[in-house]
């Protein structure tokens, strides 16, 4: 026990001396989680809250242009600015200069166009019912009035948002068209306006869509930038210990300290177990600090609060398995690297690549299919999958089984390869 305690103390002193390693393990992920969460939060809000910033140029001389503007405002999905009397040729510049994601141009004859269409449909319907059609000023002139709206997009706006906006607009215009058509029909039948009972039914007649995230339990966690970034960057931080632990191992090997330990019975294994213990502590404190920031600090700066999973034991299991996977990988790199530069370079680059393909930077669900397949090679992906199951899906054991099996196999494989190499080098 004294040997283990001495080895622990030695490892702690070496770790405290490794200022760069400590900064990389604790400060860098903290900065990253703040920066990336703030940046991504606006994108997540755009997706989740649909607050697209839109300019509407309403040149319509009739009332339907105003109805369309009102519908857009009522939708609550857009941040609307309205201008009038702007020439169509200025729309592109107006969009870019005003930093709007899109500009909706409502032409001067928008109401006229919709009314004209409604009149034709009303006439056709009355005729179909065998009723007398109304004599109009422009009867016999069948020329269709062109009064379609125009939508000018900022080139940076993703296609998915463009489609969303067009679909929203189409729905609103369809609603206005339907209402105008019914109003026209009633007007042609001699009513001044649509009877209130009909109007009420028209407004009520909407098919409800209930949308909610898929979860196995009763948890109501909503995916947001915090729920992705805090676990993601915590995992990245844990794996980045390869810089500290990897170079620590190489240094001891190259300095001859390991050789000296070989001549002291049993001391080498004590030294290795002490390393694992100290770096396990590091990994778990990294997680605790990052999660605490997600829970307590993020809400203070306007970011979504991190909702911790309700199942504590699976949460601890995934945390410990992730830590062990990170330590085992770092130990393997440190065992195989010939120099500290090699351990640092290979270690850092490999973790960055694992992070990129593993969905740390960009969630793997937005990746193409072949990248999703490749992402399964990354241990960071499986750590993240485990935390995703817990944080977003209220993870059941079935959902956690994949990550647990992968992480156990990965850890055992790394440990085996490290021990095999150390054995070949006669350290054990």
């Amino acid at each position: 026990m004294e040997r283990f305690k001495a080895s622990l103390l030695k490892e702690i002193l070496l770790l405290l001396h490794d200022k760069v390693g400590l900064l990389l393990m604790y400060l860098m992920p903290l900065l990253l989680v703040f920066i990336i969460t703030i940046v991504q939060d606006s994108a997540f809000r755009l997706v989740n809250e649909n607050r697209l910033d839109i300019l509407i140029v309403n040149n319509d001389k009739g009332p339907l242009g105003d109805s369309l503007v009102q519908s857009m405002k009522n939708a609550g999905s857009f941040k609307i600015d309205v201008k009038e009397g702007v020439d169509e040729s200025q729309l592109a510049n107006l969009t870019l200069e005003g930093s709007k994601l899109a500009t909706l141009f409502v032409p001067a004859n928008f109401t006229q166009s919709l009314s004209s269409n409604s009149q034709r449909i009303s006439d056709a319907m009355l005729s179909e019912f065998g009723m007398e059609t109304v004599e109009r000023e422009n009867s016999g002139n069948e020329k269709e009035v062109q009064g379609g709206v125009k939508l000018i997009f900022d080139p940076v706006l993703q296609e998915s948002f463009q489609v969303t906006l067009i679909n929203n607009l189409q729905t609103m215009i369809s609603g206005i068209e339907s209402k105008e058509m019914i109003r026209q029909l009633y007007a042609d039948m001699g009513y001044d306006e649509i009877p209130s009972k009909i109007l009420k039914e028209l407004n009520r007649n909407r098919t409800k869509i209930v949308a909610k995230p898929a979860m196995s339990g009763e948890s109501a966690m909503i995916p947001n930038s915090t729920q992705h970034n805090v676990p993601a960057w915590s995992i990245f931080a844990m794996f980045f210990m390869v810089i500290s632990l990897g170079s620590n191992l190489v240094k001891e090997r190259l300095s001859g300290s390991f050789v000296r330990l070989q001549t002291i019975p049993g001391s080498f294994l004590h030294a290795m177990f002490a390393k694992i213990a100290v770096y396990s502590f590091v990994a778990l404190t990294q997680l605790m600090i990052m999660f605490a920031i997600g829970v307590f600090v993020f809400p203070l700066i306007g970011l979504p609060k991190l909702n911790l999973p309700s199942h504590i034991f699976p949460f601890l299991l995934i945390s410990v398995l992730s830590a062990m996977a990170a330590i085992s990988y770092a130990a393997m790199v440190g065992t195989y690297a010939k120099t500290q530069e090699q351990a640092n370079g290979f270690g850092a680059i490999s973790i960055i690549i694992f992070a990129a393909i593993g969905g740390i930077w960009v969630p793997s669900f937005v990746m193409p299919d072949y990248m999703v397949m490749i992402s399964k090679l990354s241990p960071l992906h499986w750590c993240l999958e485990g935390f995703y199951s817990l944080f977003l899906k209220d993870g059941s054991w079935n959902q956690l089984m994949g990550p647990v099996i992968y992480l156990v196999v990965f850890t055992v494989l790394c440990q085996f390869l490290s021990l095999w190499k150390l054995r070949r080098q006669h350290y054990i």
Partner: protein, 253 residues
């Protein structure tokens, strides 16, 4: 030599060979010799002769490819694991933690050797004093000169009061003051009964230090005996002269 032959064996090496994986040639080939309790055996030879490989095998760091190394306690052949706690090893490299202080290094390796706290603290204090480092015991090794680090390297090898001490170039790269301090301590320890197996390129120092000499070249023993006997036998004036005479002037890798 006669004096030591009358004393007991501590080590008997019988026909050991060593071939590293993927190596074309043997690093050691059919090496046999005895080491007697209390003697100072010097192993010399040009670069690549196999000195470090031999010391590494004797101290249990490397396995031999073939042959046998037998250790003795009270003239009885014993298991290597039993002799291991009685071995001290001073490698050529600074096998220590530069980020820790001198005392922390000694405390760590001493604890790993199984020394109890009071005994260990006394030993640390005594070694630091003997080696003239008591005033810098709480300074990190990173701030030490090469000579100071070399003395700490030796102190760590002595922390467990070894009965047999392997010294691989213990004075390489140090100033004359450090060298004198190290050699004086080694002679004192030897006078108290510690057996020493030593390699060095400082041949003048080795002439004064060693009781018996083993010359290696290309992994084979080319001469063995007391320095005086060897000098007479080969009509050489010094150890350097003897080495040149036996191994030639051609440069080695």
């Amino acid at each position: 030599m006669t004096e030591f032959k009358q004393s007991s064996h501590i080590l008997k090496v019988s026909g050991i060979t060593k071939r590293y994986p993927k190596a074309d040639a043997f690093s050691l080939a059919d090496v046999s010799f005895d080491v007697f309790r209390g003697e100072k055996l010097g192993i010399f030879g040009p670069n690549g002769a196999g000195k470090t490989t031999l010391i590494s095998i004797l101290s249990g760091i490397l396995p031999e490819t073939s042959g046998e190394v037998n250790y003795f306690i009270d003239n009885q052949s014993t298991n290597f694991k039993k002799i291991l706690p009685k071995i001290g090893f001073v490698p050529q490299d600074f096998a220590l933690y530069q980020e820790l202080t001198a005392a922390q290094n000694l405390r760590y390796f001493g604890t790993m050797h199984g020394l109890k706290k009071t005994e260990l603290e006394d030993k640390i204090s005594s070694l630091l004093t003997i080696l003239g480092l008591d005033h810098v015991g709480n300074r990190k090794l990173a701030s030490f000169s090469g000579g100071m680090k070399r003395r700490i390297n030796l102190a760590i090898g002595l922390i467990n009061d070894p009965e047999i001490l392997f010294l691989d170039e213990p004075t390489v790269g140090v100033d004359v003051q450090s060298k004198v301090a190290i050699m004086t301590l080694l002679n004192e320890l030897n006078a108290k009964g510690t057996t020493m197996i030593y390699t060095s390129h400082h041949l003048r120092e080795a002439e004064d230090f060693c009781d018996r000499t083993l010359l290696l070249d290309n992994g084979r023993i080319i001469a063995e005996g007391t320095l005086n006997d060897l000098l007479k036998q080969h009509s050489a004036e010094s150890l350097e002269d003897l080495l040149i005479h036996l191994t030639g002037k051609a440069l080695r890798d």
